[in-house]
Amino acid sequence: MNKTVIYGALTIAGLAAGSAAAATLDDIKARGTLNCGVNTGLTGFAAADANGVWDGFDVALCRAVAAAVLNDATAVEFIPLTSQTRFTALASGEIDMLSRNTTWTFTRDVDLAFEFTGINYYDGQGFIVPRELGVASALELDGASVCIETGTTTELNLADFFRVNNMNYEPVPIATNGEALEQYGAGACDVYTTDASALAAARATFEDPSAHVILPEIVSKEPLGPVVRHGDNQWGDIVRWTLNALIAAEELGITSANVAQLAADGTDNPEINRLLGVEGDFGAMLGLDNDWAVRVISTGGNYGELFERHIGESTPIGLARGLNAQWTDGGLLYAPPFR
């Protein structure tokens, strides 16, 4: 693996001499690691354990991409980013992909020149309030003080929501999720608003979870997904289809347990065969080998397995699949066909 030492600074001159834009995929292969931007810490989505090993739902996607590209799910450099620094890190090439619960919006896609390569979690902005307030709807929040994590789209949605409904509120902006929870728990604000997934995670950690209610209103669409830079379509395709492979695998019933078997024996279902590289050469079209999807799925399992392990109902976070169920189960997950 290539490792830069501090003297790398001294190679500015050398780098400047021959820097023609190279393809991201080639860069990653040459480097031997994937640089993936993740949250500095969001329960269930990205967190480092006592050994410094990153884990979580967003992190799993990075690992899947690394498995596809480098045949090594551990060959990922995780770069923790704050909501303020994430886009610059991506624009400057410091990271190859951003998998940090980032909302897909028009301006981010078009004006900031990024490419959202899919949606790995359909979220929406919700509110949590103490039960004793007796509030049943977000429309009863006129005059409340609301904790928000600053630097995110939630700030803008909140402004729009209260403006549209002609209500007043007192924004209490807080730098990080952890800090905001502490403040909400102490009663420094009446309401905490953020993505519903994070609210559920937060509620689970209160001393008395039943003393807090998540209001039914979801005031915004927050499609969260991985992001790459504009301009390198091959790389965008790899990230997009890695995610699609995870989703399609669940739909087709491919799991980490049976993927090796299915790939070795082949099946009667041509789509499974195409996905796992038994038929056709889809991998080669992406600039990878034909086993790529097998590696992606065997790393941590299909979308459903990842969901269950990191944020599903068996975890302390306990999120239901909801919108994130397969389209066949009434959700929004709908991977384009592998054809």
């Binding site: 290539n2 030492v5 501090i6 600074a9 500015i12 050398g14 780098l15 834009a21 500095t40 923790p80």
Partner: protein
């Protein structure tokens, strides 16, 4: 003598009277209190106020610290322990988080088997700084002080042993040029020496470094391959073994979990029942309906408070003693198991990284000849295609940078050229990476991302100060200079840096530094931060050194002039040694300030102690833990900074005595 007096003069007492105790009000504690605490009404008031403040802080802190839990695996388990033991006031600190994450707060994600390297670096720092602080030590030790700045990054980041040597050689090159040209002109020599050293560092070092790595890699390909294969062979079974161990431990854990849950159920049932009853009783006593909306938060809080006492009492019920003991024993055992599993996991992580490294090294070595051949091929192609591109377009790096109206054929030629160049860059990078990895003789490299915790704060602070010293001294001299333009540049630099908060500079490092450097330059955030902090510190150091220069008696400058020394000599031999000596306390204080300010890097996503506490709080086990981490981080900072400030104060006193 007294004998004679005693015999001759009758009215003189023969023996001393035994000493009497002074009156009660004039001695011991009472007098001390009268004089020191109660001497005037204002003083009495102040004393009472102080005692009240002390009481308040202790009343808040002591129960929290005393009712603490050290053995638990998560915050919720801490709360379970509080519930089971019936801790008064609902429990206190959950220090268990430090048991699991304390080391991480200090070393960040640095590989556990390499902790000796930062430790050694830190120890050597004291060896390096000793001759500066204690003039009694042999002067030869200063050589080590000079080498240390080059040794430190090598020890921390790793890499081949010749890298620091090559960098040091730059100084030798500069010195040689200076000696040769010194005979012609001092000014010219100084300029030429700087240029020579820069050329060496920027051009020769990378090329030489790559070259040596390549030589080393190519000459030892067979050995390296064999070694990597052997390593994989050796580690695979051990890895499997460790994983099996971990699995068996995990099985033990689930068994214990069941025992724990079984013991916990009756206790929590009893406690919840007692709590609910207490709350009902509380409202009943006041004639309130517990469901009523009328009841305010303070009432509810009071009710909960009341209920806590009842819950404590219920938990301490002797009938539940067995369950309690089983539960606590299970928690202890589980924590020990968790620690053991963590230790194994850490080994497994390191080992699998090791295997994956060896694996990728083998692959890279296997395709090396192929890649080299392709590169030669590409070189020929580049020359061919270059000939087709008009001269005016040859330096362009992007097709769309070509002026409007360029012939489409030329554009196509340019596109073809750029394609080849792009592939060449990638290939060269890949080959260089292989050489660097396979040909490395020295320490295992550590990535920037693995730095964190107090180590990160120390590294940023220390490298900031060490690197900023030369620049700071130059700026200080420039600010004192008679040359108008030099002075203006230095004053401008210092004031701009000092006029803008560090956090803005850090955001500049994060968001903008890449704009200011040539396209394609990309070095890690940590390095960018160190560069920015160096500039930042140099402005402050410059002011400190300027103070030292100003404090030096005018006569020293004049005497140096009278001896016929030129500017450089008089500064080097007379002025700076004295001025820097007076500046040491100021430099230490600047360092303390900088060390504290390193906490700001949390805002740009580096994992300093505060950033790490955020990360720790994001894990499912420890979400919601707050004060314990801050208290730990605060105490660590206090210990470091207080020690240094005491030292700097002592030094200041010593210097002022010497100066007199």
């Amino acid at each position: 003598m007294s004998d004679t007096h005693a015999q001759t003069v009758a009215y003189v007492r023969e023996t001393m009277l035994p000493q009497q105790e002074p009156p009660m009000t004039q001695s011991g504690a009472v007098r001390w209190m009268r004089e020191n605490l109660l001497s005037s009404p204002l003083n009495i008031l102040l004393t009472v106020a102080s005692l009240w403040i002390i009481y308040l802080s202790l009343a808040a802190l002591v129960p929290w610290i005393l009712n603490s839990v050290w053995d638990a695996r998560s915050l919720s388990e801490c709360r379970q322990v509080f519930l089971v033991t019936g801790a008064p006031g609902g429990g206190g600190a959950c220090w268990a988080v430090l048991q699991e994450r304390g080391i991480q707060l200090i070393y960040g994600f640095y590989p556990a088997d390499l902790y000796w390297r930062p430790n050694l670096t830190f120890l050597l720092f004291f060896v390096a700084i000793a001759p500066v602080l204690y003039p009694g030590l042999p002067r030869q030790m200063l050589w080590f002080t000079g080498i240390y700045p080059f040794l430190m990054p090598w020890l921390l980041w790793g890499g081949s042993f010749w890298v620091p040597l090559l960098v040091i050689a730059g100084l030798v090159v500069g010195y040689a040029v200076w000696r040769v040209l010194g005979a012609v002109s001092g000014l010219l020599a100084a300029l030429a020496a700087i240029v020579a050293a820069l050329v060496w560092w920027l051009a020769a070092v990378p090329a030489l470094n790559d070259g040596i790595h390549r030589l080393s890699a190519e000459s030892r390909t067979a050995t390296i391959t064999a070694e990597a294969e052997a390593r994989i062979e050796r580690l695979r079974p051990r890895l499997a073994d460790l994983e099996a161990q971990r699995e068996s431990l995990r099985a033990e854990v689930s068994a214990l979990e069941a025992i724990k849950a079984e013991a916990y159920a009756p206790i929590t049932e009893a406690v919840e029942a007692a709590r609910a009853a207490a709350i009902l009783a509380y409202f009943e006593e006041r004639g309130l309906d517990p469901e009523s909306e009328e009841i305010g938060p303070t009432q509810r809080e009071n009710a909960r408070h009341e209920a806590r006492a009842a819950a404590s009492a219920a938990a301490e019920d002797p009938a539940l003693a067995d369950e309690r003991a089983t539960f606590l024993a299970a928690v202890d055992e589980l924590t020990t198991l968790r620690n053991e599993i963590n230790r194994l996991s850490s080994q497994i992580t390191l080992m699998s990284a090791d295997i994956s490294n060896a694996d990728s090294r083998l692959t890279n070595l296997a395709v090396m000849p192929e890649r080299q051949a392709r590169l030669t091929e590409l070189r020929a192609m580049e020359a061919e295609r270059l000939a087709l591109v008009p001269r005016a377009l040859r330096d362009l790096r992007r097709v769309d940078a070509a002026p409007a109206g360029t012939d489409p054929a030329d554009l196509d030629a340019l596109r073809a050229l750029l394609e080849v160049r792009g592939e060449m860059t990638t290939l060269t990078n890949a080959l260089n990476a292989t050489y660097k990895d396979a040909g490395r003789i020295g320490l295992e490299p550590v990535q920037d991302r693995e730095f964190g915790g107090f180590m990160l704060a120390l590294i940023i602070g220390l490298s900031g100060i060490i690197l900023s010293l030369p620049l700071g001294i130059l700026l200080a001299l420039g600010r004192q200079s008679d040359l108008f333009i030099i002075k203006a540049i230095c004053v401008g630099f210092i004031e701009v840096i000092r006029g803008v908060p560090l956090i803005v500079w850090l955001f500049t490092a994060q968001l903008l530094l890449n704009y200011f450097l040539p396209p394609g330059t990309n070095f890690s955030l940590l390095l960018r931060v160190i560069i920015m902090v160096t500039f930042f510190a140099s402005a402050y150091i410059a002011e400190v050194v300027r103070g030292g220069l100003a404090a030096l008696p005018r006569g020293q400058y004049e005497a140096a002039g009278a001896l016929g020394l030129d500017y450089a000599k008089s500064m080097r031999l007379i002025v700076l040694p004295q001025a820097l000596k007076i500046s040491i306390p100021g430099i230490v204080n600047t360092f303390i300030g900088l060390f504290k300010d390193t906490t700001l890097v949390v805002f740009i996503g580096l994992l300093d102690p505060i950033g790490l506490s955020e990360t720790i709080r994001a894990s499912t086990d420890w979400q919601g833990i707050y004060w314990e981490l801050f208290v730990f981080v605060g105490l660590m900072f206090f210990a470091c900074c207080y020690g240094m400030s005491r030292y700097s104060l002592a030094l200041e006193r010593k210097l002022s005595r010497e100066h007199r």
